[in-house]
Structures are given as structure tokens and as C-alpha cells.
């Protein structure tokens, strides 16, 4: 007649349904009936984790295997962590509530650099040794995937292996090998790692030695195991239309960030914006057929009861079947009284007409991302949007009754001058003028323009991977410059504190010498770095200092083309030669056409599929 520990804890925390599982369509299995207990870990809150498409895909494809039980494992919020520590409860999986300390595999999806501290913290809460070399066969194999895995060097010592690229096939291959290894008695972890190191897309960091030059740059990255390739190539799904897509979706009880059905139209992007890591690492662009998507939409809506559906892609307007798809979706949404949301659409007559038809679009806010304030700088970053586009689209919007326009920019872009920063304000004023140019009776009564800037962070596998990031002082100066240049009360300026961007910049192009810094920072209390209320910049700086690591070396230093970069042994398809060419063109202010206009020869055609062969 006792009260369960979990109930005692949950009565004391906010949003307890973050920790209970049991949602509709969550998979429940008998742990005794499977060979593999897989913890799918997302190092952030439930609300963020449950909005992530990749998790949904891999969770269901793993659970479709009778031999595997995949459960979700998320970062407990700080009130929950306190309760867990006080009452001796370890990190647990949502489905069974079991501790993950002796699971077979823990797979982290690494979506952003600022979640590294949470990864370490989660391992600590699970009572699992943080460094891979300290974990024997009795502990789970810890692996990672997602965009940060392309340069996972800052957490290389923590993980047993990484999966590069798309995981729909890869995750099954490493699970199969795990079962073989387990059935053979799990003698030596190295045996398992050697077996999977041969699989394309698997990166076992301990099988590579990194040597450094006296100036701190990398001298060499060399395989130290006969099973590990000199270069690890990412995996992609060749036939994306036929790629596994779950026909069911977990429906959370509490509200999450993306609380709706998401349809993945395509992978990759054909635009080639030079700052955008996603635009390069997911190449080449591949699409699903409209029919496939419509049938998926129908199934997902029926099994979830959701009243909203959204399209997911990097650039929805580039989807070649957009008209068919939206016609079909409008049929479904009208019949079922369902809202359709259409992010990342270019504004033109077609999309405006579409938005008129769609229920759930309130006529308030439309977002543009010119990213830079002048045409010169937009050419540098290859952002294919002109002032004329924006002015013409906003004119359409304002006469159509829209009142709020949001404009997104980056500051700190390569070659940026004061003129470019002031250009942001000019552009916002031009949008405002467009509103005033419309006769009073034909426009909405009020107008609000919001300008938001984020700090540019150079990322691996982009044309700007060699560029120095602006110092924090430079960024602050530019923010102030922009503040001063905005003269209208109708224009609101939002900016970010750039301390988190700085840390992101350090990790993004970091190497293995950062592992100990991250562990130290977590020991000193850092976690949830992406959350302003928890971010402890000074503690981070102390950790760098204590370990004698200079963060500026990674962040604000310019690299030469011939420097060996920490991710030199990773092959994402896009070649270094192409990136150098793009970098040179950026410096010369020349643009590169998109894949459908003219192939730029990026190298991703080596995957033999997608837009390269249209």
C-alpha cells in the first residue's frame, strides 16, 4: 500500500505529463520480448523533442522491428532534475519508466551545438560514465546523429560512434550488428565498433588519431584501425518517395512546439545560400510525390485527430508538385475542418491566393528572410531575393489586408560594412513606404514591421567555413548602429544577446580539445544553454580558462584553405573544391544559380539521385 516514487516526484514538478509517457500511439512493448532496448535521446525538453520530425521517423521504424523496443528519453527540466537527485531517481525512458543505465543503445539526435551540455548532463543523470573509454560492455553503446554529427569532434570522446546522414537504413544496420554482437556474448565493445565501422556512414571517433601543430591547428587525422575508412561518407536515402515515413504519430497531452501533423515534402535544398549548413549537408534535393504525401496526410490525420497539418521543407516554394499537393490538401482540410499551415513559402500571386483559401492563416504576420541589408551583401551570401521582390510582395500583402511583416537578417556576415548594416534599416523603411504608398481605403488600418537580427555563425561544410566570426564587441556595435538607423515607431527591432552565438560558434568549428571543457562546464552546473534563464556564460569562460583552451581560436580566427579542418575526414558529398569556389565567388560578389537553373557542380551528384538527374 505505498505510493510510487515517481508519483511523489511528479506531484512536485511543473508539466508532469512531460515525464509520464502513455500518449496516444506511443509504442508499448514487453521489454522481455526484445533483443535490443534502444533509448532515443533528445537533449532538450519534451516540448521541443516531440516537435522533431527525425525522432518520429526513427522511433517508429525501430519499433516496427519485433526485436527492438525504442523508447524516448528527454532532458528533465531543472525542477524535475532536482527532485530526481533528491530522491535518487535516475534518467528514465518515457514508455516503460525504466532507468536507461543498462539499456543496450542510447542514440542522441544532435540538433544544435548548444545542447552538448545537456547530453553530458543526461549521461550523468543516468549514472553512465561520460567518456566512451570509461564505459565497459555493461553500459549502453552511446551514439549520435543529426546535423551536429557532421562535426561532432567537440563531443568525440563522449560517443562510441556517430551516424552521418539520413538514418532510415543506417539505424537498422547498426542495430542488426548489435544483436549479432550481443548474441555472441558482448565480449568486447571494440568488436562491435569494428563491425560497424565498415558500414558506410558510421564514424567511430576512437578509431582516428588527431595530431596538432605547434600553432594549435590540426596536423593530421589518421585512422588507427584497419576497419575504419580514411573518409567517412554520409548516407542518404536514394529513393526518397519510397523512403519509410511513419503512418502513425504520437499525440502529446500537453502542448508542444509543433503540435500538428508534419508532412516532409522533400529533403535537401537547391538554393545554395552560402551561410546555410542545411542547404549543403542535405544535398541533393529529393522530393516525395504529391500522391504519396496526400495519402500520408490522410492516414496521419485519421490516427491522430490533429486539427492542423503543416508542410515541412527548407523551401516549400521549390517543391515541384506544390499546386497538386495544395489542391489535394485543401480538399482534405475543408472536409475535415482542419487548418493548413504553410511555412517557408515565397510570396507571389500563387501563394497569396493559397493563403486566402487556407483557414488557419491569420492575416497578421508574414515573414521574409532577406538575411542581408544590401544587394551587394545578398549576392555575397547568394541569397536569391531582391529588394524589388520584397517591395513587390509586401505591396501585395498590404493591399490584401496583411498588417504585420517580419524581416529576418543576420549581422556579422563576411565582408559586411556599416553600409550593409544601415541597409537593413533602409529596407525596413522601404517596406513601410510601400504601405504608405497604397491609398488609405485599400490598405489595412495599421502596420507593424519587425526587424530581427541574429548573429552569423560560420558552420562547417559551408562556403564560409573558413571565415572568422565577428567578435562580440563588433556585433554589439552593429546592433547599436542598426538601432540608431531605425527612425520609425512602426518598425520594431529585435536582437539576440550574442553570448550564446559565440558559444555556438566555438562548438560549430571545434575540435576534440573541447570535450574536456564541455564536461567541466557541466560539472560546474552548465545545462540548457539554449535557454536564456539557464545560460551561464561566465561559467563557460571559467571552464575554458581552467583547461587552458582559448575559445577565440575556434570562433574569431580566419582559416586558410589549406588548413586541415577538424571535419576533414568527413565526406558530405559537397566537395571542398566546390566550397572554395563558392567562397571565392562570395568574395567577388558573384552569385551561383540554383540547381534547377544550372548545376554548379557541387559534388552531390555522386549520390546518383535527386535534382541532379531531373
Amino acid at each position: 500500500m505505498t505510493i510510487a516514487l515517481k508519483d511523489k516526484i511528479l506531484s512536485k514538478v511543473t508539466k508532469p505529463t512531460r515525464y509520464t509517457g502513455g500518449e496516444l500511439n506511443a509504442v508499448i512493448k514487453d521489454p522481455a520480448s526484445v533483443d535490443v532496448r534502444f533509448g532515443f535521446c533528445f537533449a532538450d525538453t519534451y516540448e521541443i523533442a516531440m516537435s522533431h520530425l527525425g525522432l518520429k521517423i526513427l522511433y517508429h521504424t525501430l519499433n516496427d522491428r519485433p526485436d527492438t523496443y525504442c523508447e524516448r528519453v528527454f532532458a528533465p527540466w531543472t525542477d524535475m532534475e532536482e527532485q530526481m537527485k533528491e530522491r535518487g531517481m535516475k534518467l528514465f525512458a518515457l514508455e516503460s519508466g525504466d532507468e536507461v543505465t543498462r539499456f543496450d543503445i542510447l542514440g542522441f539526435t544532435m540538433q544544435y551545438e548548444l545542447s552538448y551540455s545537456n547530453i553530458v548532463n543526461m549521461l550523468m543523470l543516468a549514472d553512465i560514465p561520460v567518456r566512451a573509454r570509461d564505459r565497459d560492455e555493461s553500459y549502453p553503446i552511446v551514439c549520435g546523429g543529426g546535423p551536429c554529427a557532421y562535426n561532432a569532434e567537440p563531443v568525440a570522446d563522449i560517443f562510441d560512434f556517430f551516424m552521418l546522414g539520413e538514418g532510415e537504413e543506417l539505424i537498422h544496420e547498426v542495430t542488426d550488428e548489435y544483436i549479432k554482437w550481443k548474441k555472441s556474448g558482448k565480449k568486447n565493445k571494440k568488436d562491435y565498433l569494428e563491425a560497424i565501422a565498415k558500414i558506410e556512414g558510421v564514424y567511430v571517433p576512437s578509431f582516428y588519431d588527431v595530431e596538432y601543430n605547434a600553432d594549435g591547428t590540426i596536423k593530421s587525422i589518421t585512422p588507427n584501425n584497419p576497419n575504419s575508412p580514411a573518409k567517412i561518407r554520409k548516407r542518404i536515402m536514394k529513393d526518397f518517395d519510397k523512403t519509410y515515413a511513419p503512418e502513425t504519430i504520437i499525440v502529446p497531452f500537453g502542448e508542444v512546439v509543433h503540435d500538428r501533423v508534419m508532412l516532409e515534402l522533400m529533403r535537401g535544398c537547391l538554393r545554395g545560400c552560402r551561410f546555410c549548413q542545411a542547404g549543403y549537408i542535405y544535398r541533393p534535393l529529393r522530393e516525395r510525390k504529391s500522391d504519396t504525401l496526400l495519402s500520408l496526410a490522410d492516414k496521419l490525420l485519421s490516427c491522430s485527430g490533429y486539427d492542423e497539418i503543416s508542410l515541412s521543407s527548407l523551401s516549400t516554394s521549390d517543391f515541384s508538385g506544390l499546386r497538386d499537393l495544395t489542391d489535394g490538401l485543401l480538399d482534405i482540410t475543408e472536409k475535415k475542418k482542419i487548418g493548413l499551415s504553410l511555412p517557408s513559402l515565397r510570396i507571389d500571386n500563387f501563394s497569396l491566393e493559397l493563403m486566402e483559401k487556407v483557414q488557419k492563416v491569420r492575416k497578421s504576420g508574414i515573414t521574409f528572410a532577406p538575411e542581408a541589408g544590401t544587394q551587394r551583401l545578398r549576392d555575397v551570401i547568394n541569397k536569391n531575393i531582391t529588394e524589388e521582390n520584397i517591395v513587390r510582395s509586401t505591396a501585395l500583402l498590404f493591399s490584401g489586408g496583411w498588417t504585420n511583416v517580419k524581416l529576418y537578417f543576420m549581422i556579422g556576415l563576411p565582408t559586411e560594412t556599416a553600409e550593409d548594416v544601415e541597409g537593413i534599416a533602409d529596407l525596413a523603411h522601404k517596406v513601410l513606404d510601400t504601405y504608405y504608398a497604397i491609398p488609405k481605403e485599400e490598405r489595412a488600418k495599421q502596420v507593424n514591421i519587425t526587424v530581427s537580427t541574429s548573429s552569423f555563425v560560420p558552420k562547417p561544410f559551408t562556403a564560409f567555413q573558413w571565415e572568422p566570426m565577428n567578435t562580440r564587441d563588433m556585433l554589439i556595435e552593429k546592433q547599436n548602429m542598426l538601432k540608431g538607423a531605425i527612425r520609425s515607431k512602426k518598425i520594431k527591432y529585435n536582437w539576440h544577446d550574442n553570448k550564446t552565438s559565440y558559444l555556438e560558434g566555438v562548438f560549430a568549428r571545434g575540435d576534440r580539445r573541447l570535450c574536456e571543457v564541455i564536461i567541466r562546464a557541466v560539472e560546474k552546473g552548465c545545462k540548457f544553454d539554449g535557454w536564456d534563464e539557464h545560460f551561464k556564460f561566465d561559467t563557460w569562460l571559467e571552464a575554458f580558462d581552467e583547461l587552458g583552451v582559448d575559445p577565440d581560436f575556434y570562433c574569431t580566427r580566419a582559416r586558410d584553405y589549406d588548413e586541415i579542418l577538424p571535419w576533414e575526414h568527413i565526406d558530405v558529398g559537397v566537395t571542398k573544391k566546390f566550397l572554395i569556389r563558392e567562397s571565392e565567388k562570395a568574395r567577388a560578389g558573384e552569385t551561383t544559380p540554383n540547381c534547377r537553373e544550372k548545376c554548379a557542380g557541387c559534388g552531390a551528384n555522386s549520390f546518383g539521385t535527386g535534382v541532379c538527374y531531373e
Partner: protein
């Protein structure tokens, strides 16, 4: 359009769902069951649905009530089956009845029966409870919209029994006032027991709502 009264249960698996989340969950379940909700008129139409005396977070129940309106006619059995197939595990529709007028008025529900488990230190027995109930007044601090106030809860305890105990945990059955006149939660009764019964130190408790009653009557 027809109105239905549904009686349903919520078990341990779904006891932490807040009232708002419960309402949203139920809308989705009805959509999955392809039961067409009647929508309210007005600027922001929402499905018509009233939950009687919403359950507190953390409490399980065998006897919750709600009233819903659907477009069309459904037999109680059909409604029950379809909803049960669509609800997440842990919820169960126990029975349904179509209502025309006001023969069932959920706003008249005025009491609830609870089973409460309390982990405690010290001691407690039936005599303690008898003495407790003999107190002329039982004053506890009670939260209301205007702040925390002293309140005498004795008139609103209709029944209180110690149904079992071991060294660490005691089980109670209690019938308490709910509704617009006075809403007494089991935790207030536990607070009062802590205050008025010497040597009884409650620590954690778990609450189960057994039934919602109108006087002595359970509607379904």
C-alpha cells in the same frame, strides 16, 4: 444535434493531464472516432463540451461526467464503443445516455466520494477520526480567488472513514462537498487532520475519486 451525458474513468496513466489538455485530448479523440462535434457560435468556434467538476491534476477517477453535443444520432453503445476505440489508454467511457431536456443536470452535482491513501509518520486510528469529526469547527487555510483565507471545512465533510492502515500508510474514504457552493478538496481534509490529530504527520498522498453525486444519486 443531440446531447449526451458520458460517464468515464481516468486511471493512473492519465492522471497528470490538466483540464485544458484533457479537453483538447477529447476533441482529438472525437475527431478520430469521426463523431461530429457541435461547434459553438461566435468569433472563435469551439466544440460544445462541459466537464462536471474537473478533476485535479494527479487524481484518478471511476466516475467523471461530461456533456457533449454531436451532430446526428448515435446509440449510447455505438458512442461508447467508438470513443473507447479512439481514446488514449487510461481513459474509458463507462456509459452514455442521450438527454433531451434537463433530466440530468451536471451543475447539480454537489458531492464527491474519494479514496485517499496517505503516507504518514506517527499514528492514526478510528478513535482519532471520531474525535476529529466531533470538533465543532475545523479551520484550515484555503486558497480562493481573493487569496488565502481561513475556512471552516467541518460542514462540508459528509463522511470520513479510516478504511485501513499499516505503519506507514493509511487509507480513507471520504465524501466531500464539490461545486459552486463549496468545493472541498481531500488535501484540505488531510491538512486539517494534520492540524487537529496529535501525532499524525502526513507526507504524501494519492487521491482517487470514486464517484460524483447529486445528493445521494449517481446519475449513470
Amino acid at each position: 444535434m443531440s446531447n449526451y451525458i458520458l460517464k468515464y474513468s481516468r486511471d493512473d496513466r492519465v492522471k497528470y493531464i490538466s483540464h485544458l489538455d484533457f479537453v483538447r485530448m477529447f476533441h482529438r479523440a472525437a475527431r478520430r472516432a469521426e463523431l461530429p462535434f457541435v461547434f459553438s457560435q461566435g468569433f472563435n468556434p469551439h466544440p460544445v463540451m462541459t466537464v462536471a467538476q474537473p478533476l485535479s491534476v494527479g487524481v484518478t477517477s471511476d466516475g467523471e461526467y461530461m456533456k457533449v453535443g454531436f451532430d446526428g444520432e448515435f446509440s449510447p453503445q455505438d458512442l461508447t464503443d467508438r470513443l473507447n476505440a479512439a481514446l488514449p489508454p487510461g481513459f474509458k467511457i463507462l456509459s452514455a445516455r442521450k438527454v433531451e431536456g434537463k433530466e440530468i443536470d451536471l451543475t447539480k452535482i454537489d458531492r464527491a466520494e474519494y479514496w485517499v491513501k496517505v503516507e504518514y509518520e506517527g499514528s492514526i486510528d478510528a478513535q482519532d477520526i471520531a474525535d476529529f469529526l466531533n470538533e465543532p469547527r475545523l479551520i484550515v487555510m484555503k486558497k480562493s480567488k481573493s487569496g488565502v483565507k481561513e475556512s471552516d471545512i467541518r460542514p462540508y465533510i459528509y463522511k470520513l472513514d479510516l478504511t485501513g492502515s499499516d505503519e506507514k500508510t493509511a487509507a480513507f474514504s471520504m465524501t466531500l462537498a464539490v461545486g459552486s457552493v463549496y468545493n472541498l478538496k481531500p488535501e484540505s481534509v488531510i491538512d486539517a487532520m494534520e492540524k487537529y490529530i496529535d501525532g499524525f504527520k502526513p507526507e504524501f498522498f494519492a487521491v482517487h475519486r470514486k464517484s460524483l453525486l447529486c445528493g445521494d444519486v449517481d446519475y449513470l
